[in-house]
């Protein structure tokens, strides 16, 4: 079957093998050496060893955080293991699946695969057009073998009906005349087995290419949108953007997307899961370049497919709207700031930076408790993710925010190196504590700060009893979206389906040869022999031969 030289198959082993000159000859010469190496590379043993090596090489990536899937974990790892981390980094342990060593294993494997598949495809093509082989002289030697004697008729008619039977059963057949006056039909079936095997291996190559192309020409970008805000699909509007090596950002499909509302449903009945989110739904309005608008919903398992991009809903949380005024009452800052959830009850952490308009730059580290509860220690915690009793606390710093040097700073971190803490922590002065709609003086006469109530219909809470107020809708929500373009994704799906089909046919379709031979005996009876030979795994061979014999007897009109 033109398989690798170390393929186990009885049929191959029976064929007279060419002496393995490459191994015997002491001097190979250049072409000899190349041939020898090529044969080694495309051998079954090499494929097997490379497969096992690939399995082993994949392990470290699950033990050490990877930059691709867990960038924060990598940063944490460097902090926790300052000595070990750089060493690991040198051998690409944080980028295992893109590393030189991992890549060389799978590339070598695929070279071996291609080198294996091409000659087999050629050979298979020829085999499919070749006649089934001559009937062996002594069928009784084969393992699966059955013998009957007919009381009449003649060898010719017996074989004619055998021929028709095998043809009908999907065998490819050929009639042969034996030396001892016998006639026989030689039949083979199950070529699909090898076809499936080749399809499988070829589709693996296709899959590799689809994955590589998709990574190269696509992009992935992230963006946080607060209710009421609009995102425009341009490079500038992304919070982070990871293009493939060959991606041209000019090709970003022009559209915009507004987050109308973000709705969370929490479990209300089941006490084992009280407050657990059971549904997230982002209602968005999309607008194409031509101004066509449409309202749609994006859910966790239900992305938005739009203009060649896929928009996924990943995270969400609260984005309190904070306004800062100078001592004269002029607004110097107002913004809805996404606070990152820290626990299941959405205790959220956020950073407020007020760079301009006040005497000094202000920085604040804030906590939002959707349902605030004061613990015995005096610290707050949140007891429910909904806005039942929302509270915002802020520690205030003043000084240099460090954002004027042009170095991009994370909006989720405050660098307090060049700042002085004014409120909270060790200052001995209380943090700012606000509920939606409330305002408070900033320290040192800097101005005032307001925690805006996002619900336009909300009454002024400043002078009402907060314990009876309905706060739902008082803080805007944000949703974080992942926008992706992977033009090769469909191909990956196609190849994975082909992989499945190839696998099923190659593992379950038996490839077998069947021979039926009839000989006229001197006494007027006819001896009919049935034999089969498996090519590859074929547990049902013996049964199949028995079945053929029985059906042949039926066809000949003999009783069972």
């Amino acid at each position: 079957m033109s398989r690798p030289s170390d393929y186990v198959d009885a049929a191959t082993a029976q064929q007279p093998k060419k002496p393995d000159t490459a191994i015997i000859q002491p001097k190979l010469g250049f072409t000899g050496t190349v041939r020898f190496i090529w044969r080694q590379v495309t051998s079954m043993r090499t494929a097997l060893l490379l497969l096992l090596l690939l399995a082993i090489a994949s392990i470290p990536g699950s033990l050490v955080p990877q930059r691709s899937s867990d960038p924060n974990g990598v940063i944490q790892y460097f902090t926790d293991n300052p000595d070990l981390a750089p060493v690991l980094d040198n051998i690409q342990m944080f980028d295992v699946y893109g590393s030189v060593w991992f890549s060389s294993i799978y590339l070598l494997l695929f070279i071996s695969l291609i080198g294996c598949v091409i000659p087999r495809t050629k050979h298979h093509y020829q085999a499919m057009r070749a006649k089934p082989p001559r009937t062996p002289a002594r069928l009784e030697r084969l393992t699966a073998h059955t013998d009957i004697t007919l009381e009449g008729g003649n060898a010719g008619t017996a074989i004619e009906s055998a021929h028709a039977l095998l043809k009908k059963s999907g065998y490819r057949t050929e009639l042969y005349q034996g030396r001892n006056g016998d006639v026989s039909v030689s039949a083979e079936r199950g070529y699909l087995r090898e076809t499936g095997n080749l399809l499988f291996h070829t589709s693996l190559v296709g899959m590799l290419i689809a994955v590589a192309v998709g990574g190269g020409v696509g992009y992935a970008g992230q963006r946080v949108i607060v209710e009421g805000q609009t995102f425009v699909n341009t490079l500038l509007d992304y919070s982070s953007f990871n293009p493939g090596r060959f991606y041209n950002p000019d090709n970003l499909p022009p559209y915009s997307l507004s987050l109308e509302s973000f709705d969370v449903t929490h479990e209300q009945k089941n006490l084992d899961a009280y407050g657990m989110p059971i549904d997230y739904a982002a209602t968005v309005t999309t607008r194409t370049q031509d101004g066509v608008t449409e309202k749609r919903t994006v859910k966790v398992n239900d992305p938005l497919r739009f203009e060649g991009t896929d928009v996924y809903l990943l995270g969400n949380g609260y984005a309190p709207t904070i306004t800062v005024r100078d001592p004269n009452g002029a607004v110097v800052f107002t913004d809805s700031i996404p606070f990152l959830p820290q626990d299941g009850n959405l205790t959220s952490l956020g950073i407020v930076k007020v760079p301009d308009g006040l005497e000094k730059q202000l920085g604040m580290i804030g906590f939002l408790y959707p349902t605030a509860f004061e613990m015995e220690t005096g610290a707050y915690t949140s007891t429910h993710p909904d806005l039942i009793f929302p509270l915002l606390t802020l520690n205030v710093f003043s000084g240099d925010l460090g954002i004027d040097e042009g170095v991009p700073k994370s909006v989720y971190a405050l660098d307090t190196d060049k700042m002085k803490q004014l409120l909270g922590g060790d200052t001995g002065r209380d943090s700012i504590e606000l509920m939606p709609g409330q305002s408070q003086e900033l320290p040192d006469g800097l101005g005032t700060i307001t925690f805006e109530n996002a619900n336009p219909d909300a009454p002024n809470t400043a002078d009402r009893d907060v314990t009876t107020t309905d706060f739902s809708g008082s803080v805007a929500r944000f949703a974080s979206f992942d926008v992706q373009q992977d033009p090769a994704q469909g191909w990956a799906l196609v190849f994975s389906i082909l992989i499945m089909i190839g696998l099923l046919t190659s593992l379950f379709i038996p490839r077998r040869r069947v021979w039926i031979k009839a000989t006229d005996n001197p006494d007027g009876t006819v001896r009919v022999q049935y034999a089969g030979l498996a090519r590859g795994e074929d547990p049902g061979l013996a049964e199949a031969i028995d079945a053929i014999a029985s059906r042949h007897r039926d066809a000949l009109g003999l009783q069972r």
Binding site: D147, A220, N301, S496
Partner: protein
């Protein structure tokens, strides 16, 4: 008593049945050992066993009423002593079937109580996966005599169920949004079916190795008193059986991998991201691909490929336990 409590009760009752079945299967193995000893002590017994084998074959051919002699090679290197019919084995099978019914009741009531498929967290996955192991075992028994695997299968299922019931139990809670998908039904179910087949193949491969040792005649096994091995299929037959089981597992696993990728695309925004669970699913897939290749590579058939199947199943168990519980990743569905 609500439905979930009923489910828990049914599960513990099923485990009780399996314990009894395990004991009965073990008694059967002991009895087989005794038979082998008896056979060895009777000089004529070898011939009888060989001829009874032959009668069995012509018998089946004659049974179909055809004047056909099937010359099938016994395929056994060392003489296998046929196992006698045994009452204790029948009891074992009846207990297993009863256990399976209770087990099924436990899974179904859990599903009804939760109002969704009963495989959304580790407890449920283990419950359903072991149910599959048992069901596949009993179905395969209808076609092949694998009764000797009873101790192993009930033992394995008992260990897994025990751990699940004691350590993984979680109350019924609704599905988080990430799990609300038709792919949960397909992906996880097929994964548990694949696991069941791999468990089976693992059992056969272990037995194959032991049988191989016995056939090779190395003395150390004699000391272990594993005489019942003489009543089991030859190492070669076990290997073929293991292979057939494992390729079914492999195909299901391939499907799991693909279905997982499709789901990941919908849910996490990319079809493949080398998340820890993805990594291990891939590793297992590659190990079993290696196993299939080993079977087709000269010098790797037999014990070496059996070792690969054993390593493969160990990786499956590792993936289900350690990776789920201790590795960080997106796949946080253990519910613990």
């Amino acid at each position: 008593m609500d439905l979930n409590e009923l489910s828990v009760l049914a599960l513990w009752s099923a485990m009780a049945m399996y314990v009894l079945a395990f004991i009965a299967f073990a008694l059967d193995l002991a009895r087989r050992s005794a038979d082998v000893t008896a056979a060895a002590n009777t000089p004529a017994s070898k011939d009888t066993s060989a001829s009874s084998l032959a009668t069995a074959q012509t018998g089946s051919a004659a049974g179909s009423g055809r004047p056909v002699t099937t010359l099938s090679r016994p395929g056994t290197a060392s003489p296998q002593i046929p196992a006698r019919r045994s009452p204790v084995l029948r009891v074992a099978l009846a207990l297993t079937a009863l256990g399976l019914l209770l087990h099924l009741a436990a899974v179904v009531t859990r599903g009804v109580a939760a109002g969704r498929v009963p495989w959304a967290n580790m407890y449920e996955f283990a419950m359903t996966g072991t149910l599959m192991i048992m069901a596949i075992y009993l179905v395969v028994l209808l076609r092949m005599d694998l009764r000797f695997l009873g101790t192993f299968i009930t033992g394995l299922v008992l260990i897994l169920l025990g751990i699940a019931a004691v350590d993984f139990y979680v109350a019924i809670i609704p599905l988080p949004p990430a799990l609300q998908s038709a792919w949960l039904v397909v992906h996880v179910f097929v994964a548990s079916a694949a696991t069941a087949f791999f468990a089976f193949g693992f059992a056969l491969s272990v037995l194959q190795l032991v049988q191989n040792r016995r056939q090779a005649g190395t003395g150390d096994l004699k000391k272990l008193k594993l005489k019942f091995l003489a009543t089991l299929p030859s190492a070669e037959d076990l290997e073929n059986l293991a292979y057939r089981t494992n390729i079914v597992g492999f195909i299901l696993w391939t499907f799991t991998l693909i279905a997982g990728a499709i789901w990941a695309e919908r849910s996490w925004g990319r079809y493949w991201g080398w998340d820890t669970k993805e990594v291990w699913t891939f590793i297992i897939w590659v190990i079993y691909a290696g196993y299939i290749h080993a079977r087709a590579t000269r010098g790797w058939r037999g014990s070496r490929s059996a070792w690969l199947a054993i390593i493969g199943f160990s990786a499956v168990m590792f993936n289900f336990s350690v990776v789920n519980l201790f590795f960080k990743g997106l796949h946080a569905y253990s519910g613990l």
